[in-house]
Symmetry: C3
Amino acid sequence: MTEKKRYFIENLWYAAAWEYEVAEADNKLARTICETPLVFYQGDTDNYIALDDRCCHRAAPLSIGRVEGNCIRCMYHGMLYDEKGQVVEIPGQQHISKSLKVRSYPVVAKGGMIWIWMGDKDLANEDDIYDFPPLSDKENWRGFDKEAYLHYDANWLLIVDNLADFSHVAFVHTNTLGGSEAYAYSTLPENIEKHDDGFSMERWHRDSNAPPFHAKVIPASEQGDKLDRANIVSMRLPGVFLMETLFAPVGWNEEIDGRSNVREYRNCQFMTPETRNTTHFFWNYMHNKDMDKPEVSASLKESLLEGFMEDKLFIEDQQKLLELSPDFVPRAIAADEAFVHFRNKWAAGLKAEDAANPLIHKENKRSIL
Amino acid sequence: MTEKKRYFIENLWYAAAWEYEVAEADNKLARTICETPLVFYQGDTDNYIALDDRCCHRAAPLSIGRVEGNCIRCMYHGMLYDEKGQVVEIPGQQHISKSLKVRSYPVVAKGGMIWIWMGDKDLANEDDIYDFPPLSDKENWRGFDKEAYLHYDANWLLIVDNLADFSHVAFVHTNTLGGSEAYAYSTLPENIEKHDDGFSMERWHRDSNAPPFHAKVIPASEQGDKLDRANIVSMRLPGVFLMETLFAPVGWNEEIDGRSNVREYRNCQFMTPETRNTTHFFWNYMHNKDMDKPEVSASLKESLLEGFMEDKLFIEDQQKLLELSPDFVPRAIAADEAFVHFRNKWAAGLKAEDAANPLIHKENKRSIL
Amino acid sequence: MTEKKRYFIENLWYAAAWEYEVAEADNKLARTICETPLVFYQGDTDNYIALDDRCCHRAAPLSIGRVEGNCIRCMYHGMLYDEKGQVVEIPGQQHISKSLKVRSYPVVAKGGMIWIWMGDKDLANEDDIYDFPPLSDKENWRGFDKEAYLHYDANWLLIVDNLADFSHVAFVHTNTLGGSEAYAYSTLPENIEKHDDGFSMERWHRDSNAPPFHAKVIPASEQGDKLDRANIVSMRLPGVFLMETLFAPVGWNEEIDGRSNVREYRNCQFMTPETRNTTHFFWNYMHNKDMDKPEVSASLKESLLEGFMEDKLFIEDQQKLLELSPDFVPRAIAADEAFVHFRNKWAAGLKAEDAANPLIHKENKRSIL
């Protein structure tokens, strides 16, 4: 018996899937989260259910099974599981041992996103979910017709790093989300607040030009106007990024001027580890002007996606280089402050769960491989 | 020096290749069996020869060499091997050390299948091969014009498991080989016999409808007739599955009624490990009515293949989930009786060979990699 | 702390890239050598620069950065590196720690090839490069319009083995570079000289036919003439192969006859390990008659490439079989003399560097993966 390395904090809510993804998967979505293969389906009271996607009998995937009300049937030998993961029917067999079961997970849908709790059920409190109100507030915010998903071949913390230092916007996104390299030289993060579960901060670029993604959706009359631009960011464990973006007239003072002349966006990005080296990336980008014009949202989606693909190139290359270079020790710069704090909090959480419940590797004498 | 894990029983006959496969590979078929790369070729007296597919000199594959009578020449530097694997010519060199050789393996062709003995040559007895008489009996049985082969990305014992519990036919093959989910609820295996090298059993579905694959080949006049359906199965180490299938009039009694009104099939499936995680799967399905009609055999092949692809989906998914989940411990149900016996016999055979001849890992100071 | 296996001698010049490859990669070529990811670029005085292709900050690749004079800028957060690998600018940060740097490597261009020294800078002496004069002597030798490159999925020493025993030409290249299997039976290496850093040798095939690649480029009047053919070879660590090929009238004696009736070729092949299992292979093949006819060089390139693809088939198959067979111990034949010497010298060099500077594996507590 040797100790196993723990890679993920269990007692956290993770973004698992947009609701429409389950529907589009014929109501039995297979998705791996924290290296755990899961099946998500919707029961007969529209509740979502998540079980280990591995029949307890011979490890056939339940996700190629059949949903029957709140139950799901393994279509290999017909075993039927209820929403708690208990086997309730075996064709051709009367007695069913209580030990025939798979693990079930607390699951909650908020704002179109299905959240899953990977740890101790008794500790799951849905108020702890970092719900993003604009996702639900369709009256005041318009997002994408269908919320977006990307798959990353990279550890999710590399994406957290990316979002925690906006100086990259100047170089990676010059022609898409950034606008100029000056952004990196002339702006700094402000009001960094460190929390037990993440951080928040602001970054202002005053008297600046509209970056390309914004210029594409504003009227001709505003083109060329100088702006005070702000990104107001919150990042929470395990990988929840929520952002308010403002484009205000130069010299804007909220208390005096109010927000009527301010163009605003709301952006969420949820990073969920699929494995230690791959990530589910969920996002939406919402606006509150010209809400009747679908082309605004379409343009924003296209611009943002273009920018995210620029990030993805860097981040997946980082992943490859780090895998090739296990001895690489990073060197810190001043701009690392926020993500170093975040990674320290993650490491502390892992350590605490390890102390409470060390993972042990046992030789598996009953493996069927 | 540390002990190495043994994955395969050596002293067994394994199905290696259909004879036509060697011919179609220009008489030098490369095939890996039990993680051993082999070359199969036919000598000048139509005998088959199997050698390690790795020149003893620098590990070039003999299978891209040239067959010369009973010999095969490595086409890298021209070394010639006889059918015992001994080097008998080195261009440009007079003396040839006796140590220049590769391993040869006992090989026997029966019923179109080439069988190989992976262990101690002195123990090889070709009478131990589980030959299937209908394969050779072309007068009474018609199989495929060309016997069939599939490659599985899965451990072969997962296919044994599949074939050892026919309740899966109800769910996996409802619309192809099964016919109804009732099969799993209303039938049970009968006459299970446990042998030292496998098991045999029967499964009857009385007063039932013809399953789709059968309905496709019977005359219009018999469509809709109720039938007594029997599958009479034998499974032997390492993975030899032989089956007799009967469709008889309801209430049929063989002693009184004979077999003239019975429609019969014969089926063989040979599962041979390529590696611990991949399998060579050989099969044929034979009928004895309408033997002059090629469309009958073509229809059966198409139906069976469709069914096997349904199995393959489950079995390869099991393999993936098991590789991801080394800690998975299967839970038993009543229907596992036969394959648990089979796996126990396999494990006992492995253990016995290990006791007699433990595998040792030595550091290879002469590796050329 | 445990000792790590060393795979490559560091204090050697390795062939890294043809000069045009850097230009074609927009002057920032990413190439891994000896399992070290590197970026190559040309500075403002046409000097070549090689740095670790991994920003010291978060391991982003510098090769997707921007060359600025002798500097290269990481385009993730804008850090600027000089040609010594020192960070000289961090946007938004005043003080720059001296510890912010990546490793730089001595680099020299000769004859169109960029050579890199992977070890201690103080020991790098560019006179030690095995430059091949015909590569630079455009007046007397014509090679390919663009020098050639192939990528091998094989350890580079397997290619050295190949080139160290020309008996393979008889069997692998019968119809391309060889001409007949007799070559292996009737010729032997001559004048083998063993050096501390490699070997040299000759192989003569007297009174022979022109091999196919040569027959394709000689005039009709010479077709069918018998020839004395010589390959005069030098092989040096780590994988530098230089060859003089002569086709002379039968009975030719250089002292009496001179070289005016001799057709000559010059060939270089540089094998550089990308990883322990993959190789960069650079080559050129030069002639000195009919230098005004581009079709001669084109024909030679096509013939040689055809031959090299024949080798590649064998060598990549050897690699696969050796990876599958870690216990394989090669058996020696007489023809192995040269490459066994070469491999012994390589092994001795590795051992000497290990004794001077053992590689140690330390647990990396600061890994960002």
